[in-house]
Amino acid sequence: MPLKTELTKGLWQINPVLKHGLGLCPALAVTVSAMNGLAMGLATTFVLVFSSLIIALIRRLVPDQVRIASFILIIATFVTIVDLVMKALFPELSATLGPYVPLIVVNCLILARQEIFASRNAPFRAVLDGMGAGGGFLIVLFVLGGAREILGSGTFLGSAVMPAAFQPWLIMILPGGAFLTLGVMMAIANVYSQYLEKREHKARQAKRMESFRKEGAD
């Protein structure tokens, strides 16, 4: 696979949330605002990229039996770093994200990338893959948080965007709003990927017809 695809595949083709349904716990729980989504996405991406790098570097040294234990240790180290740095530099953000920062350790999106990719590929590829999957996660969380913030509090990134007469939908701030919004996003993603498939199929068919016609002419 070309290097560029390693990076971009995580954004759409194998987007962890939209396509694989991974990392749903933080995606649903913290996205009451766009800022929260962004922060959670960045924290997860950081952990993902660095653990992918380390795990790809030591992938030949780790015995198979303690593979998962080693991965979790490395992931937990980076998560603790993120947690401490956040508490020290962004105390308010850390307070709103609460236990979901330490819980990145058990985010299956991260372990999945280590098991499937980082433990079987060269470090550079693993980093690109981590960036891609982290980026895909970040985009989904940002859009999800943004939509919930606009409809649920009438603001975007803290500043008012809705007309004063707008009555915020309380449901969007509650867990139900997260499920609704994510459901809509996944539906849109599915419709779009079906459309892409259909278009590709048609293009392939047209090409085949073209070649038939050519043969016929010969």
Partner: protein, 187 residues
């Protein structure tokens, strides 16, 4: 057997390296986290000394923490000052609420102290602390021992903890003097 050794060695090595890195980062982060928590506690106390407060702004000048406090409809309510001075055993750190006129105290909160438990610590109890609510600091707050206050700028000190109580009065007076010395706060 060789496999077992390899397994143990791998996990031990990863554990040691991880622990080492984390202890370094923790050493850097711990003081900052403590400072943040302290600041959060101070800001919670603002709502205690200025009960009508809705929001506040930090005006930090020369390591002297001054908060401008606003009430409903952004009406300026006054200030909240952080100031410390010597108590009986160690420093006493107070948060002092002040009205717009810079003369009337709206209340005080003890943020930090090491006074004698049961005696000096009574400066943080309502009978003493409550005396500062609405007291006039014009020209300054004075204290009286063993009798109820006679003028609007007097507080009665605590029997058995006179030094701690007087220290509180001094800190409140000092903080107001210090605020008046700042640029833009001259009466």
């Amino acid at each position: 057997m060789k496999k077992v050794v390899q397994i143990i060695a791998t996990l031990t090595l990863i554990g040691i390296v991880s622990g080492g890195i984390l202890s370094l980062i923790n050493a850097w982060a711990l003081p900052l986290i403590a400072k943040n928590q302290q600041q959060a506690a101070t800001e919670r106390a603002i709502f205690l000394v200025q009960p009508e407060a809705v929001r506040y702004e930090l005006i930090e000048r020369d390591d002297f923490l001054v908060y401008r406090v606003y009430g409903p409809q952004d009406k300026p309510l006054g200030y909240a000052l952080v100031h410390s001075g010597d108590g009986y055993i160690g420093p006493i750190k107070l948060l002092i609420g002040l009205q717009e006129d810079l003369k009337t105290v709206t209340g005080i909160e003890v943020l930090d102290m090491t006074e004698t438990p049961g005696l000096g610590t009574r400066i943080n109890d309502e009978p003493f602390k409550g005396q500062f609510r609405g007291i006039s600091a014009d020209p300054m707050i004075t204290w009286i021992r063993g009798a109820p206050p006679m003028t609007p700028n007097q507080v009665q000190v605590i029997t058995g903890a006179t030094i701690s109580a007087r220290a509180v009065v001094d800190i409140v007076n000092e903080s107001i003097q210090k605020l008046l010395l700042l640029e833009g706060f001259q009466p």
